[in-house]
Amino acid sequence: MSKVAIVGTGQTKFSKNDDDVEKLLFESANNCIQSVNNCDSSDIEGVLVSTNNNSKYLGAILSETMGIQPKISHSIEHLCSSGTNAIISAYAHISSGLSDIMLVSGAESATNPGQVLEWDKSRGNLEHPIYWGSMLTKAHKRKFQTTDEELAIVSAKNHKQAMDNPFAYSNEPRTISEVMNSKQITDDLRILDCSRSCSGSSSILLASEEKAKIFSDQPIWITGIGQKTTSASFTKNILDRIESTRISADFAYKMAKIEPKNIDVAEVHDAFSVCELMAISELGIVADNKSGDFVRNLFNTENRMINPRGGLIGAGHPLGATGISQTIEITNQLQGKSNKRQISNAKTGLIQNMSAAGTSSSIMVLEN
C-alpha cells in the first residue's frame, strides 16, 4: 500500500450567495491546482465530487470544466460528512494503486433543498436539525450539568477564531453574553449555538508517496482513518453520546499508532455548540464531565487547539465542502501556514466530521 499525502488545497469564501454548485467547484478546484508546484490538470487521474446538491454528473462536469479526462470520476454523498468520505475514498484509490493523483472537490449551494433526510420517519414532522440538536443539548445538560454559559463559550470561541479565517462566512466577534441573549430557537438552543447552511466550496489534491515529492515541499500525510455508521435514523442514538465518533476515533488512532494525547490540533463537527463538547470527549481529548471546563480554558487562554478556523458555527456549513475545509485547516496548521490561527509546532492533527445527528462519523489523523 502506498502512503498518501495532501499536496494541494483551494477554497472559496463561504457566503449566503446563491451560486451555482458547478461554478463553486471550479473556483476551489482551480485554486487548488494553482497551489501545487509543477502540476498540470492533465496530471490528475481521478476527480471525486462531494455534495448533497441535486445536480447530476458533477464529477464529469468538473473534469470537463478543468480540462481533465480522468480514469476515475464520480460524486459522493453522505450528508454532512460527504467531504471526509470523499477524501477517504480518494485515499483508498491511491493506496491501492488504482490512481496516483486524485482531486477531491466539495461544494454546496445555500439554497440546495437536498439537506433533509426524508427517509427517517422517526423524526415525524420535526425533521429540521434543531430538534435533534435540542435533544442532544438537553440530555447533555441533564447528565453532565452543562450550563448555558459553557455552551455559549463554544460559540463565542469559534466566532472569535473565525475572524482570522478569510474563507469564513462570519467574521463578526460574538461575546458570551451576545450568544446567551441571541434569538431563542428552543428552550435549549439559541440561534448562535447553531451552524448555518451556506454556499461554498473546497478542494484538495492527494498524491501517492512517489508523486507527492514532486508536487510538494511539505506533503502532509494521512496516517489514520476511521469511519463508523451506527444507523441512519436519529432516534436510535443514545442522546448523550456520539458512539460513531468514539468507535471511528479508535480505528483512526490504532491505524496512526497514536493516542489522543498526541493530538496538537483538531477540527471537530460543531453543528451545534453541544456537538463540540461531545466530540472532544468521544475523541478522548477530555473526560465527559470536563468538556465545558476544557473549552472555557481554551477560550480564556486564547488557545486555538479546537476548531482554529472557527468550526462550523463560525466558518459556516456548506455540507459537501465542510469536511474538506476541516482537512485543509489541519493541513495548513501542520505546514505552519495558518498565519494568526497557527498552533505552534503542530505535528499531529485530527479531523472529526459527522452526519445526521452523529449516526455516522469519519475521523482522519494527519501528520507532517
Binding site: K121, G124, Y131, M135, T137, D188, F234, T235, L239
Partner: protein
Amino acid sequence: MTFFENQLKKGIFQICYCNNCNNTIWPPKEICHTCYKKTDWKKSKNLGKIIEFSKKESKYFGLIEIEEGIRVLGDISSTSMPKIDQLVRMSVIFDSKPHYSFIVENN
C-alpha cells in the same frame, strides 16, 4: 404512499415486525434487516414514555419511546412541564409527512 403512511393517514400507527426473528423493525421496512424475510404489521397500543423533551415557543416536543423500543420525535401536550419517563398517549396523522403527537397521561 406506503402502507405505513396510509395507515397513519387513518390515525393508526402500525408497528413493523419480523415474525421470524421476533424483532421490531424501525423505521418500517418491507424486509427484515436480520433474516431478509418479509416483515409484518401490528397496531400500536399508542402508549409511550418521555425520553427527553424541550420547548419551542410555547409548545413542548420530545423524544418518545413507544412499544418495543420504537422512538419518535413528536409534539407533547401538557399543562405542566413534562417529566422524564412520564407516560404519554400517542395520536398520529399524515399529510406530506408523519405527525406524532403525545398527550401526557393523567395530565
